[in-house]
């Protein structure tokens, strides 16, 4: 019986040898590169976001290396797949910190993973530059930064905008996960603080595709606006809103801006509002150049997370030039940095949250435009 297990043990031994060889390879002091890590969901249902972010990092990295690198050293990014899972995330951060000994980890995209990785990074004095939305990350630690504005920034901008337009009543249908729920809670408090009234709150689970029961309840209350903080499922919710003949204004969440939205909604997309941190084709030449590069290299237009991480990669390369691998120096530099990026002028507040302008945007003639 045992002899049949020999080949399995053989495979294990080969893998262990590979690991050891790799470990000693990586221990060789290669002075010509400077390594940073990236923890992203590269497989599973959230891989679409992870790969978009990876593309942006690669784009920025190639640019940086073609323009002299980090004081003559090449920037190298070690990608690890965290599957948007907390336990796997802790494996990834342990590997990046202890084996690759990176000073900076880009990511993750999933808020839960960032919160789980934070104590390990904090203890080992490694910088995390996340692209996640949960307000929980604000107080995750001194070494924990993020390039994505917290959910509260989006909701307060939306609430202010709606009240300025004289809108008094709102309904919410949200996806019941960390993302949807934080946006719902913050929107409710922001909107009611400004004197508005949330008349109906409904929820659904990730993966649901029939929202009619919830929407009919909302229709009875006749709100002036319906807020839908969700991911790709927002598209189906909007279709069913139109199908049920609900005439309320529609306010979508930040992930609304992606190519598939307009393709799938067609003219139903016209006039839908959403808060966003990035206006395409606008402002400066840098943004346009970035969009062109992204399109040429990956044959698709950029989503919303990519420009943020593109800027983050540049910010990290700038501070690495000053600090090399000294993470305390990197941390202090990040708190003081002022970076003119493609998504706007970026500074970090004392919690490591970015101070980025948020715009209200809408869809006009099949294009995402500033309202």
């Amino acid at each position: 019986m045992k002899s049949k297990n020999n080949w399995i043990i053989g495979i294990m031994i080969v893998l262990i040898i590979l690991g050891v060889v790799y470990y000693y390879q990586s221990q060789k002091k290669d002075e010509s590169v400077i390594k940073i890590g990236a923890s992203l969901p590269l497989s599973g249902q959230n891989a679409v976001y992870g790969i978009e972010i990876q593309n942006a990092i690669e784009l920025a990295k190639d640019d940086i290396n073609n323009n002299g690198g980090i004081n003559g050293k090449k920037l190298k990014v070690i990608y690890e797949d965290d599957e948007a899972d907390t336990a796997t995330g802790t494996n990834v951060i342990n590997k990046l910190v202890n084996i690759d000994k990176v000073p900076v980890v880009l990511g993750s995209w999933a808020s839960g993973v960032v919160v789980a990785e934070a104590p390990i990074a904090e203890k080992n004095r490694v910088i995390i530059m996340a692209v996640a939305i949960s307000p929980a990350i604000t107080h995750a630690g001194d070494y924990i930064f993020r390039i994505q504005p917290s959910a509260t920034f989006y909701t307060s901008k939306s609430a202010e905008f709606l009240r300025d337009k004289g809108i008094n009543t709102s309904a919410i249908i949200y996806v019941n996960n960390e993302f949807g729920k934080s946006l719902k809670d913050f929107f409710t408090s922001d909107f009611e603080k400004k004197g508005g009234k949330v008349v109906a709150i409904e929820s659904y689970y990730e993966g649901d595709n029939d929202f009619r029961a919830q929407l009919i309840k909302i229709k009875e209350k006749n709100p002036e606006v319906i807020f839908i903080p969700g991911y790709q499922d927002t598209i189906e919710v909007i279709k069913q809103i139109k199908e049920l003949g609900i005439k309320s204004l529609i306010l979508a969440g930040p992930p609304f801006e992606s190519q598939s939205t307009i393709e799938k909604l067609g003219k139903d997309a016209e006039g839908i509002l959403y808060p966003y941190h990035f206006v395409a084709g606008e402002s400066n030449k840098k943004t346009q150049a970035y969009e062109k590069d992204y399109l040429t290299k990956y044959h698709k237009t950029t989503g919303g997370f990519a420009p943020l991480m593109y800027d983050a990669t540049y910010i990290i390369s700038d501070v690495l030039k000053k600090c090399d691998k000294n993470t305390d120096c990197i941390k202090n530099e990040l708190y003081n940095i002022e970076y003119k990026g493609i998504s706007g002028n970026i500074t970090f507040d004392s919690n490591g949250d970015p101070e980025l302008p948020i715009f209200m945007k809408t869809i006009k003639n099949g294009e995402f435009v500033k309202y």
């Binding site: 080949w7 899972d85 907390t86 919160v115 789980a116 996960n177």
Partner: protein
């Protein structure tokens, strides 16, 4: 410091080992296809985390996590008593969805989808286990103790009754064995160990949210049980090590960065398929899957 990384992996292996051998007890030895096992893990993790955050000592958190999970195990045994095979699997799966929905929606208690951050590390006899090495020792001791207890149960005369119910419930009832009582005890005991594994998990990772306790998270545990072989405890240990270490070892293969995610998953799946083609009953499996 490769040690720090290995210590981290060994702690997770320890926690999954407790989870897997307790599922092995229900699924392998008693033939209960309990797909609600991950819910007990979640109940344990939340119980322990919430008690720890309200200032209770680790020992109390740890024991209550196990006991509360055990109570739910007994409760689950009542309605599922007469179900077998696929039907039992569906009913227990339903239980895990209910627990997930409660964790997600009972916001006042569990903070819902935001999860619970900042769970304190254990303090035992005035000694704080904040460094990973001492936590590894704690995990190893608990894993060994759990293994020993489950081993003793399966080797006892009671263990023979458990296995007889798996093989032929009617026959063992004719011999005067109370199958309902036996199955309830097994479900309760296996839930107890899942609960303490949950407590260890919560205090090690220091952050939990409902997404860690879904059916998807049960899949790796179920894989360990099947690859190790039903009703085999040494097989379970071997499978825990292999299934936890292979995905990590695959991080070192050095794929081109653009295919790193999918390639790792493909290779991992391939290894599993090969194992199951050559060893359909798992490494040391004694019985076929029901």
């Amino acid at each position: 410091m490769i040690e720090a990384y290995l210590i981290h992996l060994l702690i997770l292996i320890g926690i999954y080992l407790i989870l897997a051998i307790s599922l092995q007890l229900a699924l392998g030895f008693n033939g209960l296809s309990n797909f609600g096992h991950i819910a007990f893990f979640g109940i344990g993790a939340y119980t322990s985390a919430l008690l720890a955050l309200s200032g209770w000592s680790f020992l109390i958190c740890f024991v209550s996590a196990g006991i509360l999970a055990m109570i739910f195990g007994f409760l689950l045994a009542i309605p599922t008593n007469k179900l077998k095979g696929d039907y039992l699997a569906l009913a227990t799966m339903g239980f895990s969805f209910v627990v997930y929905a409660v964790l997600l929606n009972w916001t006042e208690l569990t903070r819902g989808p935001l999860g619970i951050p900042g769970i304190p590390r254990p303090v035992l006899l005035g000694y704080s286990l904040s460094d990973n090495f001492s936590f590894l020792i704690l995990t190893a001791v608990i894993a060994l103790a759990s293994y020993f207890v489950i081993y003793r149960i399966t080797k006892s005369p009671f263990g023979k009754v458990i296995e007889s119910i798996r093989d032929d419930e009617l026959a063992s009832r004719i011999l005067g064995k109370n199958s309902f009582k036996t199955k309830s005890i097994i479900l309760g005991v296996s839930a107890f160990f899942a609960g303490i594994a949950g407590s260890l998990y919560a205090s090690y990772i220091t952050f939990i949210d409902p997404s860690s306790f879904t059916m998807m998270q049960l899949v790796p545990v179920l894989l360990i049980v099947i690859v190790g072989g039903l009703a085999s405890l040494p097989g379970t240990i071997m499978a825990t090590f292999i299934l936890m270490l292979v995905p990590e070892a695959l991080r070192f293969v050095g794929f081109p960065s653009s295919i790193i995610g999918p390639m790792r998953q493909i290779l991992y799946a391939l290894i599993l398929i090969i194992i199951l083609i050559y060893k359909p009953k798992g490494f040391y499996g004694k019985v076929e899957m029901v």
